[in-house]
Each structure stands twice: as structure tokens, then as C-alpha cells.
């Protein structure tokens, strides 16, 4: 009986090896197959003792060759390991790592999203003879061992919303959160409020969660992973992968095919993307790697679960220690852990209110420091010093002007207001006493505006429209040809003459209002007055941090063609007299993709706006997502920039996002989507994944117009749709009506 069981286990181990290494020729696998077959053929003739001896030998051989095969694992083999049905799942972890748990986010298929598992768990810690049960909130994707209803850990928007809800519960209860990332990527359907929008909401909230968050990554598929992976400590399983895109997806893009790419190209892409735990550790994107047994952890590797338990306890202890400090002896032991089991040192995981603030500061600093060398900084040493000095001066200025002077001014004006109101109530009129009323004249209104508002229009001098006078006119308007509106068949639009359309009409169909795409320069000059703006950080340029084969050439070509160093332009300008900081994502530069340089520029722009108390506008002329050639250095920009946005909004700024043409994937699922004020230029498309990707990943066909701005508006993703010609006016209106408390011009 025992022999049968052990033989079956050996067969299963061999099948697993074959699954992992796929059709690749492998001597070790062939030897194991041969020896096992030989044993099975001879088995009926052998006695019990011989059988036991043979099985012992075979087990030894398996262990030896598995160790050898471990060294031969390619990145793609690791992808196959994490996707294997025998891979450990979150339920295995809950069973073996925690001492007790109760699922609270639904049970199996009876859940808003069966792929998202949420549980309250406890970890028992020893305190002398006393046992303390420390509660934690465990959140993660559950792939299930072949359970189809789990959707392979691809989470729908409501699954992520559920996770977010329980994160806030944990925050209320002041207990740490352990997240386990087991997802190939988010499920790209645009249910309320949109796949990207929900991930952005998660990131925004996690950026400000005031409890320790520890995440463990096994399969980290881009945006889906980020939805729960923004953490104070990020651990990674040694056989896991963390990537911007699946190797298959990268290969399809690389080959420019809509079909599936061939196996070799997929293998190559997996290598180039630097997706393994070792790579991510070297890039500084995870804190530690947890070693798994040879060929990856499976549900019966109990020793691994013990290691995992020790590591998550240690990570949580470290986060708590960093935020609120421990007693000197425990701190000493934590620093020099040699051979000490973390379970033996007691650390209470609930944080004091001051420690909660310290936790946030450390989290911000941690993410701010990531991918710091993944872009090209062409600034001279002198420029860097000058920028640092200017920043310091601005901080001092801001402190004096806004934090000290303005506070007293506000208090004083508040009191004066009260006294005036009191006097007015008495019918005396403080204003008349102070001589501030001058017979109804309008204060603060410029004379031209006053005359425009109060005098009659003069039709003989032409139409009184100011919006037709464009500073920048598209070069497309120089072509002598007509253009057909895409709505011509349904709306009966006449052909438009290009000089009219791209000139006076600003690219808007005169009949149906369809917005033809316009160059980013049109917006820069006609909306943001770029001619008089001050551009900063132009010297930060996109690089090739992973040394992605062939990418240097493509990047150089993009830089040459656009004259830009990255897809992001950041500048300070004035809109109707109000100073604002603006960041533009430029579609012609590598599809407006975001990498380390763009992330850094955005963070610096947001910091500038925060320090100078200016509103911050983000105009997405178009973005295809995160730049896949930068791998996880690109993905990490999602939490990095979102954290900067969170800090800016918390400090009272106005962050407003405008979408144009096509905006998809990572940026929309993070720093763009987290804005409370998002508007779209008409005829733009907003979403998480395009129709082709949705078809490939889910098998669903989406109707035409699935990502249209109007549908995004109905879903509650954006707050409004603006006509391109009214953009400047609407932005000024937004300056007057939206945003937080710290905008100096109010």
C-alpha cells in the first residue's frame, strides 16, 4: 500500500517535470522516465523488500535530478510553474501558514468574485507561556487547483472593490494586511466602474492605508497585481514571476501579430522582460525572495510553509519596528537575527496614531527611491544642485507664505469678516464706515471683460467668437483635400475640407461634433499657452534599464522623430492668470507609454505643484500603457506616481486629468484614474485593455464603441466630456470650482 502511494507520487512528480519543461529535450527527464518505467515493468516480479529498496533509490534519484533541473529553469519555465494546477494557492497558505482563519469575502463560487479571497486570519505568537493570537487581514487572488470558476485569479472590478473594502476594514480595526498576489492580470471587462478605474481606486487608497501591508508575490501580472501589491514590504517567492505583461502578450506585440507568437519568441521575451524573483530583487522592486523547494512549492511542501510563515511574521515585525520602534533589546535581536525564530520575539502589530503617520512617510520614501536609476538624467551637476537649492527655497517660501503668514492672515480676515457681519446686522455697515462702497462699481472685473459683458455686440464687425483664433494651426490643414467623418454613414455628415476642419473647426466635424485626433502641439499652444510656459526636467530621458534587445535603436528613433526625450512633457504655465503645473503624455513618442523617466518626471511635477501650492493638470494626449520594454521598472511607476498624487491631493491640491484619443492600461489604472476630477475630450476612448486583448484573454467579443468616453461616463469612470474648443474655458472654470483647500489663488 505504502509502495503504491509512493510510486503514484513519483509518477505525479514526473508528470509535473514534463509539464514544466514542456516539449524541450531534457536528459534528466528522459532518464527519470526510463527508470520509472523500468521499475514499473519489473515491480510485479519483486518482493516487498526489493520494492522498498528500489523506491528508495528512485526517490533519491528524483531528488537529485530535480535539484539538477532546478538549475536549468528558464524564466518561461517559472511562468509554467506558477500557472501549474499543482502550484500552491492562497487557500494552501491560509491552511498552513496561519493558525486560524475565516473567509469573509464570500465562499468559493458564492462570492462577488470567486478569484478574490479575503479572510480574517490569526497568527499565534509566544510571550513566555502566554500565547497571543494576532489578527491579520489576508487578501489575495485564489487560483484554485483547477477550479474553473476562479477565473485563474483574474479579478473583475468588483473583486478588487471587495478587496479594497476589507482593506479599509483592517485600517479601521488597526490590524496588518497580508496580500498574496496570484494573478496573471486583471480581467479586462469594463464593468462598473471600469477595470482600470477600480485598480486606480485601490492604488489610491492603499497609498494612504495607515496599517502595515506586506505583500507576497507568486504570479504578479501587471495591473492586476498592483491592485493589491502596494505594500510596505514586498516579498517574492523564488519561483514566481512579476512582470509588466505576460511573455505571450509581449511576444505578440514584438512580432506585430494578432495571432499567438511562436514558442521561441515567447521564451526570448520572458528572458528579456526580467520577470524572475532574482531579477526583481536586483532591480530593487522587491525586498526579499523566499526560497522555494526545487521546481517550485507544491501543497505538500510543509517545510516551505514554515519558512513562509517566518518570513511574513518577520516582514510585519520589521514594518512595525520601522514605524514605531521597539524596545532596544528586541530591536537589537531583530537587527541580528542569526538563528532566531521571529515567532519567539513578541511584537504587537497595532500601531499608535503617530506611528501610522510614520508608516506612510516610510512607504512614500520606499516607493520614491525605486527605479531611481532606470532613466537617463542628462542634467549637469550644476543644474542638479541649482534645482535642489531652488526646491529648498521654495519649501521655505511655501512654509512662510502659505503655512505661517497665510494662516494668520486667514484668521485675521475671518475675524474681520465676523465683526463686519455683526456690524452689518446692526445696520451700520462696516463697509460704509471704512469707505469701501463706491456706488455699485464692479471690483475685480477687468475693463475689457466688463465692456464685453455690458455693451451690445456688433455683427458688422464679424462674429464675436474668440475660440476660432487658434495660435497653433495643425499642419494637416495645409493639405488640399477633403476628409470623411467616420459617422458619415449614420449621421449623414458631409465631407469636410481639410483646411477648414483642421484649421478653424479645430478638428471637429461641423455636423456631428466628432473630434478628429489633433497633434499634442495643438493643445500645448492653444490650451496651455506653451509659448510662454516654463518647461522643466526636459533633460530626463527614457532609457533601456533592462537592456532589452533592440530597444535602444527604437528609442533613439522615437527621440529623433519627435524631438522629445520621453513621452512626458512637464511645464509651468498660466491659465487666465492662474499659475498651474501641467504634465502631458505625448502619444507619438512610443504610443505615449510610461516608463521610469516619465514616472520620475510626473512625480517631480506633482512635487513641484505641491510645494508651490499650484493646481496640477495632467493631459493624456494618448497612452498605450506601461512601456513593456522597461518591464517591472515601468509597472512600478503605477504605485510610485499614485503615491505622489495621493500626497498632493491630501495636502489640498487640485489634480485634474484630461483624456484624449486613446488612453489605456497602466496609467489609466493608476495615476490618471485616481483623480477625483477626470474629463475626456469628445470622441476619446478610455479603458483597460483594447478589444483584441479582451478577445485573446477572455474569449469575449466586445461591441464597437465599448471604450468610448460616453460609456466611461456612464460607468462613473470620468466626470464629464468636453468639447476640444471649450477646453481652455472649462479648465479655467475647474480652477474656480474644483480642488482642495491649498490653492493659493482662491
Amino acid at each position: 500500500m505504502d509502495i503504491d502511494k509512493r510510486t503514484r507520487q513519483l509518477s505525479a512528480r514526473l508528470a509535473y517535470i514534463r509539464d514544466i519543461f514542456g516539449p524541450r529535450e531534457n536528459a534528466s527527464s528522459a532518464l527519470l522516465t526510463h527508470r520509472l518505467e523500468e521499475f514499473l515493468n519489473r515491480a510485479p516480479e519483486l518482493g516487498v523488500l526489493d520494492l522498498r529498496r528500489e523506491v528508495d533509490r528512485l526517490e533519491e534519484l528524483f531528488a537529485l535530478l530535480e535539484g539538477k533541473l532546478e538549475d536549468e529553469l528558464t524564466p518561461m519555465d517559472r511562468v509554467r510553474i506558477v500557472r501549474h494546477p499543482q502550484r500552491i494557492t492562497l487557500k494552501d497558505i491560509l491552511e498552513n501558514v496561519y493558525d486560524n482563519y475565516a473567509e469573509i469575502g464570500g465562499q468559493d463560487e458564492w462570492s462577488v468574485d470567486p478569484g478574490m479571497l479575503i479572510a480574517r486570519a490569526t497568527i499565534a505568537r509566544r510571550m513566555g507561556r502566554k500565547t497571543v493570537h494576532q489578527p491579520v487581514m489576508v487578501i489575495g487572488q485564489e487560483k484554485g487547483h483547477g477550479q474553473e470558476f476562479r477565473n485563474g485569479g483574474s479579478i473583475k472590478p468588483f473583486g478588487n472593490a471587495n478587496a479594497l473594502y476589507y482593506m479599509r476594514v483592517a485600517e479601521t480595526e488597526n490590524i496588518p494586511i497580508h496580500t498574496y498576489v496570484f494573478t496573471p492580470g486583471a480581467y479586462p471587462i469594463e464593468d462598473y466602474p471600469g477595470a482600470a478605474q477600480q485598480i486606480a481606486r485601490n492604488l489610491f487608497q492603499m497609498a494612504g492605508l495607515k496599517v502595515p501591508v506586506v505583500s507576497v508575490i507568486s504570479e504578479g501580472g501587471s495591473g492586476g497585481a498592483e491592485a493589491i501589491a502596494l505594500a510596505d514590504k514586498r516579498l517574492m517567492l523564488s519561483h514566481g514571476y512579476y512582470s509588466v505583461i505576460s511573455p505571450e502578450g509581449a511576444a505578440a506585440i514584438e512580432a506585430g501579430l494578432k495571432k499567438k507568437a511562436d514558442r521561441r519568441l515567447i521564451e526570448r521575451c520572458a528572458e528579456r522582460l526580467k520577470i524572475t524573483a532574482k531579477d526583481n530583487l536586483a532591480l530593487g522592486l522587491v525586498d526579499r525572495v523566499i526560497q522555494e523547494p526545487a521546481l517550485g512549492a507544491r501543497p505538500d511542501n510543509y517545510e516551505f510553509f514554515r519558512t513562509l510563515r517566518r518570513e511574513v511574521i518577520r516582514a510585519t515585525d520589521e514594518v512595525v519596528h520601522a514605524a514605531q520602534g521597539l524596545g532596544p533589546l528586541r530591536a537589537l535581536v531583530l537587527r541580528h537575527r542569526g538563528g532566531v525564530d521571529p515567532q519567539d520575539i513578541f511584537v504587537r502589530w497595532s500601531l499608535s496614531s503617530s506611528a501610522r503617520e510614520a508608516l506612510l512617510i516610510r512607504r512614500r520614501e520606499k516607493f520614491r527611491a525605486m527605479s531611481a536609476h532606470a532613466f537617463v538624467d542628462n542634467r549637469s551637476l550644476g543644474t542638479r544642485l541649482a534645482v535642489g537649492l531652488a526646491r529648498g527655497l521654495w519649501q521655505v517660501h511655501s512654509l512662510l507664505r502659505h503655512d505661517i503668514f497665510a494662516r494668520y492672515k486667514r484668521r485675521l480676515s475671518g475675524r474681520i469678516e465676523q465683526w463686519e457681519a455683526e456690524l452689518r446686522a446692526l445696520g451700520l455697515g462696516m463697509g460704509s464706515l471704512l469707505g469701501r462702497e463706491n456706488g455699485g462699481a464692479c471690483h475685480g472685473v477687468p475693463p475689457e471683460a466688463l465692456s464685453r459683458l455690458t455693451t451690445l455686440s456688433c455683427p458688422e464687425e464679424g462674429v464675436c467668437r474668440v475660440e476660432d483664433r487658434w495660435v497653433y494651426v495643425s499642419p494637416k490643414s495645409r493639405e488640399d483635400r477633403t476628409v470623411t467623418c467616420p459617422n458619415a454613414a449614420t449621421h449623414g455628415c458631409q465631407d469636410l475640407w481639410a483646411p477648414d476642419l483642421y484649421g478653424e473647426f479645430a478638428g471637429v466635424c461641423a455636423h456631428c461634433g466628432h473630434h478628429f485626433p489633433m497633434e499634442y502641439q495643438w493643445y500645448l499652444y492653444n490650451v496651455f499657452d506653451f509659448a510662454h510656459a516654463y518647461e522643466f526636467n526636459a533633460e530626463l530621458e527614457a532609457g533601456n534599464p533592462l537592456g532589452y534587445e533592440g530597444f535602444d535603436l527604437k528609442l533613439a528613433e522615437a527621440k529623433r522623430a519627435t524631438g522629445l526625450g520621453s513621452s512626458c512633457i512637464t511645464f509651468e504655465t498660466r491659465m487666465e492668470g492662474v499659475a498651474v503645473v501641467v504634465a502631458v503624455l505625448v502619444a507619438p513618442f512610443r504610443g505615449g507609454t510610461v516608463g521610469a523617466a516619465e514616472g520620475e518626471k510626473l512625480i517631480r511635477a506633482i512635487e513641484r505643484a505641491r510645494i508651490k501650492r499650484l493646481p496640477f493638470f495632467m493631459y493624456s494626449h494618448g497612452t498605450a500603457g506601461i512601456r513593456i520594454q522597461e518591464g517591472t521598472c515601468g509597472v512600478i511607476q503605477m504605485p510610485r506616481v499614485t503615491m505622489a498624487v495621493r500626497r498632493y491631493i491630501d495636502s489640498g491640491g487640485l489634480y485634474l486629468v484630461i483624456y484624449d484619443t486613446n488612453s489605456y492600461a497602466g496609467p489609466v489604472a493608476s495615476f490618471l484614474g485616481c483623480s477625483p476630477y477626470q474629463f475626456a475630450v469628445r470622441s476619446s476612448n478610455i479603458g483597460f485593455a483594447g478589444p483584441g486583448v479582451i478577445r485573446q484573454t477572455t474569449g469575449l467579443e466586445v461591441p464597437p464603441g465599448y471604450h468610448r468616453a460616453f460609456l466611461a461616463l456612464s460607468r462613473g469612470h470620468i466626470q464629464g466630456i468636453w468639447d476640444r474648443r471649450d477646453l481652455k474655458k472649462n479648465l479655467h472654470q475647474a480652477l474656480l470650482t474644483m480642488g482642495g483647500r491649498n490653492l493659493y489663488y482662491r
Binding site: D480, R481, T482, V483, T484, D495, W497, E701, P703, P704
Partner: protein
């Protein structure tokens, strides 16, 4: 009285519809290498979002547009003399012979044989309880219609008003709407046929279902 059998015979002798493809506006025409007898596809995709086969192109003011097939069928008559010439709007370029499917044949017959009662405005429509009960118990054809008979409830913005049937007497042959769904103005609600023609119509429909050969 309508002779549905004769109508079917007529359809059998020419089991297709000829669609003339004409220029939408002035411009220079170029054909795309189609010959008479070639098969072309109509709009495809789940939502008809993919345009049909390109039949020709027309260029006006350096703006080249495809002229696409609106139905699947066979190209029969191409005016090849127009190749590369500047033409006026409405000039015939070619003809597509679209072979009728069973459903199309049945729809044509019913359109002529039935008297349609259409929705007067966009609203949700329901049968009055009496008619609804009859339909549920004995099927659509158990309801006899007469002019002025109160038959529908029109529900618009949660305000319900009765609607009377107007048209010839007969029995309901088909119901074209789902109760509770919005129906656009002008869309048919029911098709009514004379009681005497019911068997004949059913017979013809059955024959079409069984015998009609789809040539596409």
C-alpha cells in the same frame, strides 16, 4: 384576396434581389478587380460592424473611399467602362445579386399577407390582461381582432395609457415585441391575418421552411 401561393411561385422563378450599387457622389471610380460571377460578402461581425467586401473605390478631392457590398451575393453586371473615369453621383457601377434566404422569403410573404399594427410612439407595450390571458392559454392565434378593440397598454415614463387596435378584422398571426421592452415608433407590434387565410399562410411558411433552396 391575396394569393400567397402565386407569390411563392413568383419568388421561386427569381429567388434573388438585385441591388444596384451606385456612386454616392461625384468622383473618380476604380474597380478592385471583381468579375461578373464573383461572390461578395455583406457586413459581418456580431454587430454588423465589419463592412462588406470592397466593390470599388471612389476618389474626390484626394479623399479615397471604399464602396462596400451591403448584402452578400454575386456580382453580375460591372460597368467596366467607368474604370478610372470621373462620374456623377447616382451612376450605377455594378449589380449584386443577393439570393434570398428562407427567413427573407418568409418575411416578404408575411409582409404582404399580414396587416401590421405598428407602435405609434417609443414606449413599452403590454397586452391588456384579457388578451394576455388568451395568448398564454391558447397561443397568439386564439385572439380575434376587430377595429377599436382595446388591446395594448402603453407605458411611458411609468404612465400607463390604453391603446386600441385599428385595422382589419382577423386573428393575430405573429407578435413582434417582448412585453416590457422599449419599442420604437413605427416598429410592428402584431401581424394580423384573415382567419380564412391562416391555414394557407401556415402551409406556405412550412413549404418555404422545407423546400426553399438557399443559393448562397
Amino acid at each position: 384576396m391575396l394569393n400567397v401561393k402565386e407569390m411563392l411561385e413568383e419568388l421561386k422563378t427569381s429567388p434573388y434581389e438585385e441591388i444596384e450599387i451606385v456612386t454616392p457622389h461625384t468622383g473618380e471610380v476604380h474597380f478592385v478587380g471583381l468579375k461578373a460571377g464573383d461572390r461578395v460578402a455583406g457586413p459581418g461581425g456580431k454587430w454588423g460592424e465589419k463592412p462588406g467586401s470592397t466593390l470599388a473605390t471612389i476618389t474626390r478631392e484626394k479623399n479615397k473611399k471604399n464602396i462596400c457590398a451591403t448584402q452578400k451575393g454575386m456580382v453580375t453586371d460591372i460597368v467596366e467602362d467607368l474604370e478610372g473615369k470621373f462620374v456623377e453621383a447616382g451612376v450605377r457601377l455594378l449589380t449584386v445579386r443577393h439570393f434570398l434566404s428562407k427567413d427573407e422569403v418568409i418575411a416578404r410573404i408575411l409582409k404582404k399577407a399580414l396587416s401590421l399594427f405598428c407602435a405609434p410612439e417609443r414606449a413599452k407595450y403590454y397586452f391588456v390582461p384579457e388578451v394576455d390571458g388568451k395568448i398564454k392559454a391558447g397561443g397568439e392565434q386564439s385572439v380575434k381582432t376587430r377595429d377599436g378593440m382595446e388591446m395594448f397598454i402603453v407605458s411611458r415614463m411609468k404612465r400607463e395609457t390604453p391603446l386600441s387596435y385599428s385595422g382589419p378584422e382577423g386573428i393575430i398571426y405573429a407578435v413582434y415585441f417582448q412585453q416590457g421592452d422599449n419599442v420604437d415608433a413605427g416598429q410592428p407590434l402584431i401581424g394580423v391575418c384573415q382567419e380564412s387565410q391562416l391555414t394557407l399562410i401556415q402551409d406556405v411558411v412550412n413549404r418555404v421552411q422545407g423546400e426553399w433552396e438557399e443559393l448562397d
